[in-house]
């Protein structure tokens, strides 16, 4: 791919990117969120049309007008969010959109034989008659790979394939990818995780702010060099933070049980304490109960058993408003959908929790002036950049929305902060600010429950780390003594005793 340019309204996503991938290699595309990796690959897969530049495949210039055209050029893509129809079976998903054989009826015997052969060859076992919604995330990913291989893909694009997998599943995936390239296929692997680049790839191209800054052989580089290329400056792998000044117990959770949206048990006896002035990190692969835990603690989900005590007050199964009034701040995972009302202005979003108080309201009539002053103050303090306080929340960037949520949640000095994936999808600047704000809250004496899938973040910020797996706590370790590999094993369901033994 040469000189690829892609503009979106207000953003230059790809700015003259050159990418050269050799046959039979695993080529990593490394870059931060928003660096343009996915955009570039979507252009190669025909989902976007480039504004300039050319694509050459096997020596010929090609135009990829649609995913169908990409497939006919034997380019396959496994998206970060899987493109599978969950109500259809595995084999139906695999043949979807294909016109092989004759007649309108489906011949599953031949299909199954081919699926079976591919699965065996590349270690992608999965039951072809199972419905997709019954499969685990790892299995669904296998179906996606099979789908591409079934279409004779020769170039396979994987968009952040490891973000949803356990460390062990990641190993299996890497094994599959290695077999694929041994058979002459080419794999392009999008990631922002340095360890994966070092482990899996032959060569790596680093993207930064829409530009390709370098292509290097993995064997001849180091994590530090790649990080520097990726961020554009020296990266400190540790955040400056003072020693914890632990105060009294803020939150005490005893034997907490709760169900998920499908009515299945999601939390199975969670017990822990959180002190003031402490950040307790919750590590785990997504879908292991973290989400339900944050919802139970903030009153958005009912606990089926157990209790959560805030200082002296029992907040188990109180309403969200009661819990908020007790001084619990919630920075939710879905900051747009749950954290804000997207169509309402910054000013209105900032007083969503306090509009009932006399500060903003008298005789049921809102005090617009107070709301305006509050908005101005918050926008300055938290550096929310927006044209004015009447801008709708949905028109803000992810970083500014998160600043808005923080400004609202942290005013009034909450005793407990539940922060779920607070920096997910944010750029470097916003990430740094969010982390700084959380550390300020810690210094002020708040207890912070930090739920994150970013292990680095957890290691950097937390004082203690709690690992959750299938709704159970696998162990709680001091952040200073934490070893990445042990956390990984615990995240995959090995108990703490076995790990340290």
């Amino acid at each position: 791919m040469r000189g690829i340019v892609k503009r979106f309204p207000g953003v230059l996503a790809n700015d003259g990117v050159d990418l050269l991938v050799r046959r039979g290699e695993i080529h990593c595309l490394l870059g931060e969120n928003g660096a343009g990796k996915t955009t570039l690959m979507r252009i190669l897969y025909g989902l976007y049309q480039p504004d300039a530049g050319e694509i050459r495949l096997r020596g010929e210039t090609i135009r990829v007008a649609s995913p169908k055209a990409a497939l006919s050029h034997r380019i396959g893509m496994v998206h970060q969010h899987f493109h599978l129809v969950s109500t259809l079976s595995v084999e139906e998903n695999i043949v979807l959109g294909l016109s092989e054989g004759t007649g309108p009826f489906l011949r599953f015997r031949r299909t199954r034989a081919k699926i079976h052969r591919l699965a065996e060859e590349y270690g992608l076992e999965v039951d072809p008659t199972a419905k997709v919604w019954q499969l685990s995330v790892g299995q669904q990913q296998r179906v996606e790979i099979l789908k591409a291989l079934y279409r004779d893909a020769d170039v396979l694009i994987m968009d952040e394939p490891t973000s949803v997998l356990t460390p062990q599943e990641v190993e299996a995936l890497f094994g599959t990818l290695r077999t694929l390239v041994e058979d002459g296929l080419t794999v392009i692997f999008i990631t922002h995780k340095l360890d994966e680049v070092m482990e899996a790839s032959h060569r790596v191209t680093v993207l930064r702010k829409g530009k390709a800054v370098a292509t290097v052989n993995t064997a001849e580089t180091s994590k530090e060099e790649l990080a520097r290329l990726m961020v554009g400056r020296e990266v400190v792998f540790r955040v400056e933070k003072d020693a914890a000044e632990l105060g009294g117990k803020v939150l005490s959770v005893q034997d907490l049980h709760a169900n998920n949206d499908r009515g299945l048990s999601a939390l199975q006896g969670v017990t822990f304490d959180l002190c003031s002035g402490e950040i307790l990190g919750v590590a785990g692969v997504s879908g292991n109960g973290q989400h339900e835990l944050s919802e139970v603690l903030t009153g958005l989900r009912r606990a089926t058993r157990g209790s959560a005590i805030l200082e002296k007050k029992d907040l188990t199964n109180c309403s969200a408003r009661e819990i908020a009034d007790l001084g619990v701040a919630h920075v939710p995972t879905e900051r747009i959908r749950v954290g804000t009302v997207p169509t309402m202005s910054i000013r209105e979003n900032l007083i969503l929790k306090s509009y009932r108080t006399p500060d903003f309201c008298k005789w049921s009539i809102l005090n617009e002036k107070a709301a305006y002053e509050n908005a101005c103050q918050a926008m300055t303090e938290y550096e929310i950049s927006a044209p004015h306080d009447g801008t709708a929340a949905k028109n803000l960037s992810g970083g500014n929305i998160q600043r808005l949520v923080l400004a609202r949640e942290l005013c009034g000095c909450p005793g407990l902060v539940v922060a779920a994936h607070p920096t997910y999808g944010l750029d470097v600047g916003a990430t740094e600010q969010v982390r700084k704000v959380l550390l300020e809250q810690r210094a002020r004496g708040a207890g912070i429950l930090l739920i994150s899938e970013d292990l680095d973040e957890i290691l950097q910020l937390s004082d203690r780390i709690l690992v959750i797996y299938e709704g159970r706590i696998m162990g709680i370790v001091d952040a200073q003594d934490a070893v990445l590999e042990e956390l990984g094993l615990m995240m995959a369901g090995t108990g703490q005793q076995e790990v340290s033994a």
């Binding site: 995913p67 998206h79 493109h83 129809v85 109500t87 043949v95 489906l106 919604w133 009515g263």
Partner: protein, 309 residues
């Protein structure tokens, strides 16, 4: 009247009444399986009823009337398809507008045809051999419209196509997860247009059956809510043509019984049954894995544009 002949007559009438329900329901199932809710069934049926009546009267051949009614129903449904698929309008609003438009338009144009008896009506037939079976013969195979058997055939073919063929998988994929279907080279608009038109054609034919075979006359608004029963039936059938087959005749039997039992039961109770049962189904399939197994298509009533995921 003997007990036996009472049962025979009830079944026989339920089949006749259920025929248009079945035809239009199979059509609506196709539209909804592709992700397009079409509340314009009542309007499309009225357009079909008027067209069928007028063309049968003019040509003297009821089959020509039914055929043209299907084409008019299909063409009429294109208004909804264009509004919701191409212009991405709200499907509920557009569908309601289609019903109002169809009711009004057929009423105005049809004024000239009101009060005429139809001479070239579609006759009834006895199925040879089968009609000689005791009880079952007279109930199911005697003095029935050929359209009833055609409707049953269409439902079975509809089920085969939806669940056993390539195009069927494409339709379900488009209604379930259009972005995925799109990424595999299936044209979402094309599939949706096709399915909405199937719905329109079958609703038109159902309407024509009503004016050419069942009532053999035209009057404004003559389908009197059949289109709404179809909407309820589509849900009751779990979006499956085979269940639609059972449901259409079951609902029809309710309607027939509401007349025949009105001395003992308030007729409104049985007439309300389709809607009550549809609500019950919605409650049952809205939870847990049942939603995946037999619930509404996930993308139902959601417009699709590429690149918004």
């Amino acid at each position: 009247m003997s007990w036996e002949s009472w049962v025979v007559e009830t079944i026989s009438r339920a089949l006749a009444f259920g025929t248009p329900l079945l035809l239009a329901t199979v059509g609506e199932i196709y539209a909804e399986r592709s992700g397009v809710l079409n509340l314009g069934v009542e309007g499309m049926m009225l357009m079909g009823a008027l067209t069928g009546f007028a063309v049968s009267m003019g040509s003297g051949n009821p089959w020509v009337g039914i055929l043209i009614a299907g084409l008019v129903g299909g063409a009429f449904s294109l208004i909804h398809a264009f509004a919701t698929i191409t212009l991405r309008a709200n499907q509920v609003v557009s569908g309601l507008a289609l019903t109002m438009l169809g009711t009004g338009l057929s009423g105005v144009i049809g004024r000239a045809y009101e009060g005429f008896p139809l001479w070239s009506k579609l006759g009834r037939i006895d199925v040879p051999v089968l009609s000689k079976i005791p009880v079952l013969g007279p109930a199911v195979f005697e003095n029935q419209s050929p359209m009833t058997y055609i409707a049953i055939g269409i439902a079975i073919i509809g089920w085969l196509v939806l669940f056993k063929t390539r195009i069927g998988i494409s339709i379900r994929a488009v209604g379930e997860d259009p972005a995925t279907a799109d990424s595999l080279g299936i044209s979402v608009p094309r599939v949706r247009y096709l399915c909405v038109m199937i719905g329109g054609v079958l609703a038109g034919v159902a309407g024509a059956y009503w004016s050419v075979a069942y009532r053999t006359a035209w009057s404004g608004g003559m389908t009197a809510g059949l289109g709404w029963i179809v909407i309820a039936l589509t849900i009751f059938a779990f979006w499956n043509p085979l269940y639609g087959l059972v449901g259409a005749f079951f609902f029809a039997a309710m309607r027939v019984l509401s007349f025949r039992l009105q001395n003992w039961l308030p007729p409104e109770l049985l007439k309300a049954m389709p809607y009550l049962l549809a609500i019950l189904v919605l409650i049952v399939v809205s939870r847990g894995t049942l939603q995946k197994r037999m619930g509404a298509p996930s993308a139902l009533a959601l417009p699709y544009t590429r690149g918004e995921d």
